[in-house]
Amino acid sequence: MATMRLSSLLGQRRNGQGRPLHWTDVAAYIYLAVGVVLMFGPVLWLVMSSFKTQSALLEFPPSALPFAQVEVTVPGQSQKLPLFRVALPDGTVRELAQLRRIGLIAQMIDPADPSQQFRVALDKREPVRRIALATENYSEPLQRFAFLRFLSNSVFVTVVATLITLLINSMAAYGLAVYQFPGKQAATLAVIGTLMIPMTIILVPVYLVVTELGLTNSLWAVILPGAATPTGVFLLRQYMLTLPKDLIEAARMDKASEWQIYWRIVMPLTLPALAVLAIFSIMWRWNEFLWPLAVLTKTEVYTLQIALNAFQGELQTQWHYLLAMTVVTLIPVALVFVFLQRFITTGIGSTGMK
């Protein structure tokens, strides 16, 4: 099904399916291809790099795929030895393991026949490399650094904050969209006006409030201050304004209380807008950095983003862990998009009318 749709999509032409390519088709494909590279290039690079070993990451020139030098066990040697392809003076090329390096000379051993040893100049050998996935980039931080803890903190913050955001934003939007009251315009403008105040400006005052409430180093300090978003209120209000007024009046005639109208009529019909806001909220909360950094100082309440920051030291950055854990943090957001994106395009709006 999906492939069929994809093939028919790729067959689209300006003058209808199956016609020769018009120059605008070519331009469109080039434009889209550039877009794909720009959007997915960095992500692809991130994923591939996250499987590289620390040494492979620092290699220059960089390789696209995660190569690693092959190491072999040689009888009589306690440690694994790196394997090299060596051009010997007699003209033959053999794969030898390196015992040790002394200056510009490497002492090599044949893994098949440990009795044979060779002395080889450094420029005569070349490492044997295979594609190898450094899965320890993932497993080690997950075990050693309590990354699962950070993950669950992030999930908690994201889920709870999104639920609270959806609830109180939709309630505010309902009030501003459905009721007539003096000062309604002013209230709406005030809500939208707060869009113009950046987080950095109110960071200190909000921090003081949170401290005063004794919430520092609690996940609620991250959840509560940003729960009411002007964007969300505005988005939902605009959507609710498009709902037919008759539906709400019909519900009133049907003896529904205001809460029931909100919960059983307006909320289900606002689902497409709620899905959009949910996606936004999940992205905001999952990627939030500055505010959690300010209020969370203890390791056990770190969210993923703050924990990632911990890999970045003053003197050295553990790139292999950082890249791998960045991939981990990307997965949930990607999944959310996969499952919620159909809601964005689904309109439920006016199906019961006329």
Partner: protein, 360 residues
Amino acid sequence: MAELKLSGARKSFGTIDVLHGIDLAVKDGEFIVFVGPSGCGKSTLLRVIAGLENVTSGEIHIDGERVTHLPASERGLAMVFQSYALYPHMSVAKNMAFALENMGLKPAEIEARVARAAAMLRLTDYLDRKPKALSGGQRQRVAIGRAIVRDPKIFLFDEPLSNLDAELRVATRKELAALHAKLGGTMIYVTHDQVEAMTLADRIVVLKAGRIEQVGTPLELYNRPANAFVAGFIGSPRMNFLPAVVISDDGALRVTVGEREVALPRAASGLVAGTGVTLGIRPEHIDVAPDTGMLTVTVDLVEQLGGETYIYASAPGLPQITLRQDGQSQVYRGDAVTIRFTAEHLHIFDATTGAALVRP
């Protein structure tokens, strides 16, 4: 099942007055139709009764209880909207059950009531469908069903048939009449279609610019309209209105119609010579009478419907005159015919106020 009483109900939106003091009493079990041209305030009046709009002043009583400031949900009325306003995310059964759930009825009782209403409206097979999977007529019936299950004090209908095609409209109109006969509830119905009003109503309320022009049974309004507006609004084709001037009123009223002087064998007391009046005569009360004609007119258009014929004719200085003839007429376009008014069916209205001076 209830009575409704409106006294001095006024409604203004800002500085615009929509209702100018409506006094009306609706009897228990009555089918009342509000009719009038668009913008006459009939829908607003219905919404005021429903409680969806508050009156600016005046009182509303239902069954003797004052409900003027009661919200819509507590008045115990049910309304069928022009757009049907079905909840798009609920099945037909859920749509009908919604109000009952809000009333706190037991699930078994709700199911029984929904099933009964569905059977009455032939919706039993569609109970699990969403409104978007229904035809216009079915949606209409769901909207009515949603009102019926409630067993409300009064049913309110806001132009419920205007979104249906002509054939379905006639069929649903008959069903509504049958439904009223069966349920016997008090119903208030708003329409701009005078045919719907005539066919459905026990009594019709004719509204114009926020005022009641006349209240009466369909035939009362048809036969004895209180003024030129009601006379013109009720009846299709419209009543003919001819400007005239009274010459004398001594046993037989003599008037000038256009350029002709016409003697009407009918007395009307109190008409002073020289008064400007409007003669009103329904199309079926004008005959083609070659010998005893009062006016000679030229035929502009003939509509042959088989069972009846409409003739549109004109005379110098007069508006177009419509005649209704039974059967098939032998009059053709361009013919000059003489016509005669059936004098006992003649209405005479004041030329300025439109008030009826002489009624048949």
